[in-house]
Amino acid sequence: MKKILIFCIAFFAVLVTLVNIPNVSAAKPHYVITTDATYPPFDFQDKNNQYTGIDQEILKTIAKRQGFTYTLKPMSFNSATQSVSSGQADGVIAGMSITDERKEVFDFGTPYYRSGIGWAVKKGSDVKSLKDLKGKTVALKTGTSGADYALSVQKKYGFKVTYFNDSDTLYNDVINGNTQATFGDLPVIQYAVKNGTQLKVMNAKSPIEAGWYGFGVKKGDNAKLLTAFNKGFADIKADGTYDKIVAKYLGSSAATFTGNKKDNSSVLGILKSNDQAFLKGLWQTVLLTVLAIVLASIWGVFLGIMGISQVAGIRALSTTIIYIFRGLPLMVLAFFIYIGLPSVIGMKIPAFIAGLVTLILNEGAYTGAFVRGGFEAVEHGQMEAARSLGLPYGKSMRKVIMPQGLKIMIPSFVNQFIITLKDTSILSAIGILELTQTGTLIVSRNSQGFRVWAIVAAIYLIVITLLTWLSNWVEKRTRA
């Protein structure tokens, strides 16, 4: 195990030096800030694929006024908070509620937004208060705090409930009159209303179970960043900038941020208005795939050669490495490397590097297993014949066993390449902005799940087809 750890660390060190880490200017302090990639109206991508929203404008304005710079790392909400608690990032702004539990782990800045649960009905509805819901049906989104709250008061007000997974469908159900009301995060409903949804928010001024959102840094660390945030926040609150920002997101129409309807209602429109995002995502996927294929193949062949070594200890080491990294789910390994390791080795690992290393270790283990199998499948007599002619072990391997073994393995390699390409999508979990994550971001903005995922699926199939052609071409050439 120790050897593996040392190897991993050495590997990171090499890779880290190979990859550009944002230049830190000497004059201004520089921070890494994480955020939830999809939480409108607080955090989301606008039609130009720039991160925007209430959180982002507050942060940008404060940074400018307080004279610090930052690199923004959008990812899932859970990864965003864990990155900060593990020291991978300096701060998190992600519509995060200040709770006693989180106060154990984070130091929070001045609470910056009062949020809570809101409820809404169809415009022009007869329902004027919660009491009017008696006998009516309420639409809820699964797993939300709005749903939890509605259930807790269901008996008291005597309504029925029905569940939805998708906000758009849910809102339409209320508007069409199948259901009569909905409960949800107040700012999220407000944002939908401002975006043209024909609902009326009933408690805009008095959120239920109200709480505050806060900017968080790791407990005990980064007091400087927190002070700067608080000073800057007091400043924008005092001069009205804060109110303007909030009004901008909760007071203007959807198209301002998400692009117009025409762009979003056809596959071509979506492709055209997001071409840069898709290209960038595709590039990350391809880069990750190509690097992972090359490095995992090298590592896998190395493991495979170790696996047929004449020394029992080396064979055992190979078996152990393959066992561990084939056994770990890819996502667990990614989280372990990206979020777990940095606190142990005291060094930040960029998400791309963490993702690449994850792929190398995982795909390399599978490769190692079939490489070992391929070498073992070469007739025993081939090695004996080579050795009996006076060729040393290494030369016999290279000249006789490996060429025959690798030929047996070619289909397995092609298969592994395709799996590697598909596995890159799992790395969206640690915030790598590859093709899948790009799709997630675009859907969260335009709610066109069917069209966007169809586009993403088509792109994957095209790349896989090209990869297969390339592999077949290489296979034919090596056979000639």
Binding site: Q382, E384, A385, A386, S388, L389, G390, L391, P392, V400
Partner: protein
């Protein structure tokens, strides 16, 4: 070759070998002189292959001494690769390299061991192909050859290293009967040229013709050895008599 002056090429003394509880070779001692042709016969499982494979360290003895060409190969610290360059081996299953053409099979070892440059290796290979009567097969893939052709190529491949000892482990046992003659012919010529040869075979006629000495293995022991005439026509050992009556009437 009972000449006492003859140089000893292979010296085996009190060698034992076991696989688990299976005591395969028991206290074997045997000396083989330069230019001598020794044929080993015996029932299946008697240890003939194991003995032969020890002479180029494809198997290690548990104890005892094996000296080949003056190198003590029962000692782990001997550079076995150098010794093997001088010992050719021919297997029952040919073991031609599937990833090379016929010519490349023969050229590989001389080039990779640094014994010859590419041009010299090719000249040598073509000359050997001529010797085994397969010149026209130089550039074909080994998988397109018949068994008899494969075995003649395997012999050529071993000879390309210009060895001074050749080991054969049942070289004709995997061949169709009509192919056997071609291979034995090549081996006979080789014996006549003065090569030191140790051959495991069931071809009794061939043994009578080319052997200087016939060695009978049974139960991991050399039960009897001597000139072919003596061993085949006047066997003393009871088990040898039994063995011969079986193979001769088969």
């Amino acid at each position: 070759m009972s000449d006492a002056q003859a140089k000893v090429k292979v010296h085996v003394e009190k060698v034992n070998k076991s696989y688990g509880d299976n005591h395969v070779l028991r206290d074997i001692s045997l000396d083989i002189a330069e230019n001598e042709v020794v044929v080993m016969i015996g029932p299946s499982g008697s240890g003939k292959s194991t003995f032969l494979r020890m002479l180029n360290q494809l198997e290690m003895p548990d104890d005892g001494t094996i000296v080949v060409d003056g190198f003590n190969i029962s000692d782990k610290s001997t550079d076995i690769n150098k010794v093997r360059e001088n010992i050719g081996m021919v297997f029952q299953s040919f073991n031609l390299f599937n990833n090379y053409s016929v010519l490349e099979n023969i050229m590989l070892a001389p080039i990779e061991t640094g014994k010859m440059d590419k041009a010299a290796a090719e000249t040598k290979a073509r000359q050997l192909l001529d010797t085994v009567g397969l010149s026209e097969k130089a550039d074909v893939s080994v998988n397109s050859l018949s068994g008899g052709q494969k075995q003649r190529i395997a012999i050529a491949r071993a000879l390309a290293m210009e060895p001074d000892i050749m080991l054969f482990d049942e070289p004709t046992s995997a061949l169709d009967p009509e192919m056997v003659g071609d291979v034995l012919e090549v081996m006979k010529n080789l014996a006549e040229s003065g090569m030191t040869m140790i051959i495991v075979t069931h071809e009794m006629g061939f043994a009578k013709q080319v052997a200087d000495r016939v060695v009978f293995f049974e139960s991991g022991k050399i039960q009897e050895s001597g000139a072919p005439k003596q061993v085949f026509d006047a066997p003393k050992n009871e088990r040898l008599q039994e063995f011969l009556s079986k193979v001769m009437h088969a």
